[in-house]
């Protein structure tokens, strides 16, 4: 009985130590950034750097709090989120539409692909002056620019994804008496999905980048507006707050895409087993 108790306790011990080591492995990743923050704060406290140009972490935190309680932060954040959300949504829809059309039909490829391949070589940010002349200085040019930028990665990856679906699998499926539509739905589109999601990740990145540029060129709301306003009043701490917000938003959307990937591509060997947290801890510890 004693030996049974011992052997029963052991796996538990191991589980705990695994969790601890997993936690330490996590903690390690934050050591260096934390150290930098401390040194930065110390340098500032001893007036070794000009806090007008380089505000201390504490000053940034205070200004963050100020912006939060006055409601400025949330209002501008909301304005930016709306722009990115709409722009990205339209871009993804257009990119998907063109990608399906060009990927699934010869006619689509002949008409759409060559045109888009030509337009693609033009950096979309170069269109800002034109868009302002066309659409004025309201929301339209910003959303249009984000949509345009986000469309291409989706289009290119979906098109390539559809065309690179394994011919042999399509052939095998076509021996199962499936209709054309059923083959597209069951074989071609799922086969193109991984590549589509790669495109989506690029699109999200481009959407944020476009937002930053568009809001700095001209806007009276949004995180970019907050930052440009702060520049005029030499409020470097507010600029820092803006940068941090951008970074957090980028991280958050990237994480969202990764969650989508994990769900949609659950059949991939690299994702199989990652759904349960126990497995994840074990793998990381291994």
């Amino acid at each position: 009985m004693a030996s049974a108790a011992v052997s029963a306790a052991r796996p538990q011990d191991r589980a705990i130590s695994l969790n601890v080591s997993a936690f330490l492995a996590q903690a390690h990743r934050f050591t260096v950034p934390l150290l930098i923050l401390i040194v930065w704060q110390a340098l500032d406290s001893f007036h070794l750097i000009n806090s007008r140009l380089m505000p201390s972490p504490v000053m940034v935190a205070e200004s963050f709090w100020q912006l939060l309680v006055t409601g400025q932060l949330l209002g501008n954040l909301w304005a930016s989120l709306i722009r990115v959300g709409l722009g990205l949504g339209i871009g993804v829809l257009l990119g998907t539409g063109f990608g399906l059309f060009a990927g699934l039909s010869r006619l689509g490829e002949d008409t759409v692909d060559s045109t888009l391949q030509m337009v693609r070589t033009l950096p979309h940010l170069a269109l800002i002056p034109l868009f302002i002349l066309w659409f004025g200085i309201g929301e339209t040019p910003k959303i249009a620019l984000i949509a345009l930028g986000a469309m291409f990665p989706i289009y290119l990856n979906l098109f390539a994804g559809i065309r690179s679906v394994d011919r042999k699998i399509i052939e095998a499926a076509s021996t199962l008496d499936l209709t054309h539509a059923e083959i597209i739905w069951n074989v071609v589109l799922p086969g193109a999905l991984p590549q589509f999601l790669v495109g989506l990740r690029y699109s999200v990145g481009i959407a944020w980048l476009t937002l930053v540029v568009a809001e700095q060129v001209n806007a009276n709301s949004g995180i970019g507006y907050l930052v440009m306003n702060a520049r005029d009043f030499l409020e470097t701490d507010v600029i820092f707050v803006g940068l941090i917000i951008y970074a957090l938003l980028g991280l958050a959307t990237d994480y969202m895409v990764r969650v989508i990937e994990q769900r949609a591509l659950a059949w991939r060997p690299s994702f199989i087993g990652t759904q349960s947290s126990g497995n994840r801890a074990n793998r990381r510890a291994a």
Binding site: A173, L176, D177, E182, P190, A266, W267
Partner: protein, 253 residues
Amino acid sequence: MMTAIETRAPILDEARLTRGEAAVSVRGLTRSFGGPAILTDLDLELEAGSFTVLLGRSGSGKSTLLRTLAGLDPAPAGTVSVPKERAVVFQEPRLLPWKRVWRNVALGLRQGDTRAQASAALAELGLSHRLDAWPLTLSGGEAQRVALARALVRRPKLMLLDEPFAALDALTRMRMQALVAQLWQQHDLTVLLVTHDVDEALLLGDRAVVLIDGQIGADIPINLDRPRRHGDPDFIRLRQQLLATLGVDETTG
């Protein structure tokens, strides 16, 4: 995508598909890929319920013939009649990795409880425990059995097998051969099996046809009792005959 050969090739009446009648009939089939013809004026008939093995050197056109019968390759010249109820198993399992095993098997089924039908077919191949697995987690032998189940579940009259065991290890291959022999005996099936393996041909087939210069160059009945044994003198005699037809000089016998 799928080129229907039905338009070109009349489908035989189901009622005629009784043992002894032709399930498959190919007349004057010619196929080339731009260059010289791979199949030239080829004739072949398969009796309903027969198990025919198709042999031939690499590149002789075995897969091309099989793909024509499967409706995957148009027959530009000649007539091809095949039952509409046909299924193909290739050298690779060719499963859809994004569909669970049973959904792969059930794909294309339209009537009744498709999950029940799929799981019955999978059970017959000893895969009841893998119903909900992702294909990429299967072993090679398991995946190939899923492919067989996917073919069987459609209750085909004609089963076309293109080197289905070539990629398996020796032990798994032996099991699969026994399995196919068993399935053929239990279901009302006409089988055409492409293989490079003379022993496999003699273990399974009751007729061996050899593709030579684009035609059926040799047609050898295999009248051996089942289950078959490698050591049987008749087996050894037929083996040498087949190897000689294939142009392999086996002096070590």
